[in-house]
């Protein structure tokens, strides 16, 4: 414990004092300045937050759009399968000619069908065209073209042009789903092949590729 004289002395020397009367004026004046200053800050905040919110919304929309595109790209084969099983054999147009089929689809739905090879395998006899119909997926016209490869029957789906897809003439990375569907994007369109039955889906790749199955080579 401190000596009594020290405690008394400290209590006396450090005793509370009255604040000067001018203190309130100082505080009040400074408070007024601070309240005026935030006006500029609030103005900046007002400008900042809407811009920030707009940017976040734009980024969110971009992400949603990307996800939507990807999801559609992934979902198309599944939806196609359902349609394929339901409408197989019920064609709007029958022809064994790829050129005729392509022209009919273009005329009916303004859909361009591009296969990597200028002379698709169908014309070489490996693929036999069965028939075509135009369906709509989420309001988007889609050409569904059945073809036979050996003893396998497959359907090529080609969508109309879709915003947000690659416009490149080079096929995007192929997405395989459950081993029975393959889809890709090209020239702002989604392509998908759905295979019926339980056969190896790679046989259907002969539509565009020279060899099948095994290593798939883009021509």
């Amino acid at each position: 414990m401190a000596e009594l004289w020290l405690e008394r002395e400290l209590a006396r020397q450090l005793a509370p004092v009255a604040a000067p009367e001018s203190l309130w004026d100082r505080v009040h004046r400074q408070q007024g300045r601070q309240q005026r200053r935030p006006v500029r800050r609030i103005a900046l905040e007002r400008a900042f937050w809407p811009v920030a919110v707009a940017m976040v919304l734009m980024a969110f929309a971009g992400v949603l759009r990307t996800l939507s595109v990807n999801r559609e790209s992934d979902q198309l084969p599944e939806q196609a399968l359902a349609l394929f099983g339901r409408t197989s054999g019920d064609f709007d147009f029958r022809s064994n000619s790829f050129a005729e089929t392509r022209a009919w689809v273009k005329a009916q739905a303004d859909i361009d069908i591009d296969v990597p090879a200028s002379r698709p395998a169908a014309d070489r006899g490996a693929v036999r065209w069965l028939g075509t119909r135009i369906i709509r997926l989420h309001g988007l016209p889609v050409a569904a073209i059945d073809y036979r490869v050996g003893d396998q029957v497959a359907t090529l789906f080609v969508s109309g042009k879709r915003a947000g897809l690659t416009g490149s003439a080079k096929a995007s990375k192929h997405l395989f789903s459950r081993g029975r569907f393959v889809s890709w994007n090209m020239r702002s369109q989604t392509y998908a092949i759905a295979l019926s039955g339980t056969q190896n889906s790679r046989g259907a790749c002969l539509l565009c590729h020279a060899t099948s199955p095994g290593v798939i080579l883009m021509e």
Partner: protein
């Protein structure tokens, strides 16, 4: 340190931005805030700066004050932190000289007594100023506000034992440096009593 009902109403008024509530809250606590600031800094000008900053912080942050917590502890912490934040000022000698000179000018008291008192005051001030900030703050809260060890511990966010330790160290420093002057003052007082008696 229990917040009274009218204190809560004042705080609510401040939250609503009522000027009268700000003024009333200021009037309630201004002496306490200024006293701590002055005893810690030793400089009235610096003390006013600290007090002003404390109240501005208080007014701007009162919206975030939770009503169920202790307002006075919160206020103490605000003024303590503002003191710690205050940049170390060059110690001014003028106030010490002013105290001695004002004592010499005081007509109705013993000049010698007042000079010794002023000298002691200046020395206490000087020794308190020389303490480390955390020790100095403990001394100020103890002797300016009369707070208990537990209350100081709550404000400074440390254990009561730490407060006791800091205060003990501060006492030793103060004793060592003030004892000679205290004896001199006691001798002077005794001599004056003898000559008067």
């Amino acid at each position: 340190m229990v917040l009274e009902q009218n204190g809560k109403e004042l705080i609510e008024g401040c939250r609503r931005g009522e000027p009268d509530a700000f003024r009333a809250l200021f009037e309630t606590h201004r002496d306490m805030v200024y006293s701590i600031a002055l005893r810690y800094s030793g400089d009235p000008a610096v003390a006013q700066d600290i007090a002003q900053d404390t109240f501005l912080k208080l007014f701007s942050a009162i919206g975030s004050f939770r009503g169920d917590s202790n307002f006075e502890s919160w206020l103490y912490r605000t003024v303590v932190n503002t003191c710690f934040d205050q940049k170390r000022r060059t110690r001014r000698l003028t106030p010490l000289l002013d105290e001695v000179l004002s004592a010499l000018r005081t007509p109705d008291l013993s000049v010698l007594d007042e000079v010794l008192r002023a000298e002691m005051s200046a020395h206490v001030r000087s020794v308190v100023d020389s303490l480390a900030p955390d020790q100095r703050m403990v001394v100020v809260l103890r002797y300016t506000q009369g707070l208990s060890y537990d209350e100081i511990a709550e404000i400074l966010g440390c254990a009561s034992g730490t407060i006791a330790s800091r205060l003990n160290r501060a006492h030793k420093v103060l004793e060592r440096r003030l004892s000679r002057l205290a004896r001199k003052q006691q001798r002077g007082t005794q001599q004056r009593r003898i000559s008067n008696g």
